[in-house]
Amino acid sequence: MLLNRIGLFSCKQSRIINLVKPITNIRPFTVTSISRIFPPPPQTIQGTVNDAVVFPPRSKAHGSIHWNFERVIAIMVAPQVAYALASGSSNAVLNALLACTLVPHAHLGFESCIIDYFPKRRFKVMFPLLMWVLRGFTILTFFGLYEFNSNDIGLCQAIRMIWKS
């Protein structure tokens, strides 16, 4: 129902039907300052307010298996990074293993961020778009790291060189 904001007085002769302009000049009444950290996007209701919530379908692939895979990758990353930092050594095997575990670890982390801040239920277009952009970036990163390890001096050696320069 669109109402006149000051719809009670009309000095001029008005027609029976007033087609009202949409209300664009209302400011929210606040005492504190309006802070826009993570403002919510426009909220939509699927169907009407009387329809039940639709839960996402159960799937082990997106549930327990995904969780296990995340932890396995993390367990594989940790000693490699610790060893690389502690010993400062750099060889082809370490570089290759690091590239093969760090990139999936980063990918999974970014996926968690996307799922948290752009939930699929609310962002019907943005969510798949971001996921595919992330996958593209991950592939580029893996390929780039492979090229770096092959043509240039390798990840650990490069970090060592930049650190000591």
Binding site: M1, L2, L3, N4, G7, L8, F9, S10, C11, S14, I16, I17, N18, L19, V20, P22, I26, P28, I34, S35, I37, F38, P39, P40, P42, Q43, T44, I45, R71, A74, I75, V77, A78, V81, L85, G88, L102, V103, H105, A106, G109, F110, C113, T138, L140, T141, F142, F143, G144, L145, E147, F148, D152, I153, A158, M161, I162, W163, K164, S165
Partner: protein
């Protein structure tokens, strides 16, 4: 909310008649009450509500929650993770795509650029670069500890949290002085 299948306007003839008869002449003009109703479908109504919600203020959340080690370290874990992964991603894609745009990108270039920086600036900068890595690594250990069902009490969380902070500072300091 009215939802009429046909968009017929609603006639308020009674008000019209009333208004035209009554004359309050504070200013010598006719005052008429007018209410206009525009019929909308449920979808239009929901859309208008959604538009209004965009302009409404949001309840404060991060700004008013009591600072606690729990969520501070959790946020720091995520922020450091994104920073480190972002650096890795940007570096690798830049190395891969730079020749396509005509730029040369090499580890020697970066090493040369870094060597120009004076020493008194380099050590703090190295600490600032090493700290996220150290913190994320040790907090990652903390997460794996929780995942293997250890230290899942409030005391345990705070104990491990402070240990992570201490260890990461020491490790970053050691790395910065390498």
């Amino acid at each position: 909310m009215l939802s009429l299948s046909a968009r017929r306007p609603i006639h308020l003839s009674m008000f019209q008649r009333t208004g035209s008869i009554v004359r309050r002449s504070a200013l010598g003009s006719v005052f008429r009450r007018g209410i206009s109703i525009q019929p909308m479908t449920p979808q239009e109504n929901a859309e208008e509500l959604a538009q209004q919600r965009v302009h409404r203020p949001n309840s404060p959340h991060l700004t008013i929650y009591q600072p606690q080690l729990t969520w501070y370290l959790s946020s720091a874990h995520r922020i450091t993770g994104v920073a480190l992964s972002g650096t890795l991603y940007l570096f690798s894609t830049a190395y891969l795509l730079a020749p396509a745009f005509g730029y040369g990108f090499d580890s020697n270039m970066i090493a040369h650029a870094v060597s120009q920086v004076p020493v008194w600036l380099k050590v703090p900068a190295k600490f600032i670069v090493a700290y996220p890595l150290a913190f994320h690594m040790f907090n990652g250990f903390r997460h794996l500890l929780w995942d293997s069902i250890h230290e899942l009490t409030l005391k345990g969380v705070y104990r491990t949290g402070y240990s992570v902070l201490a260890l990461s500072v020491l490790t970053a300091a050691y790395l910065a002085l390498l």
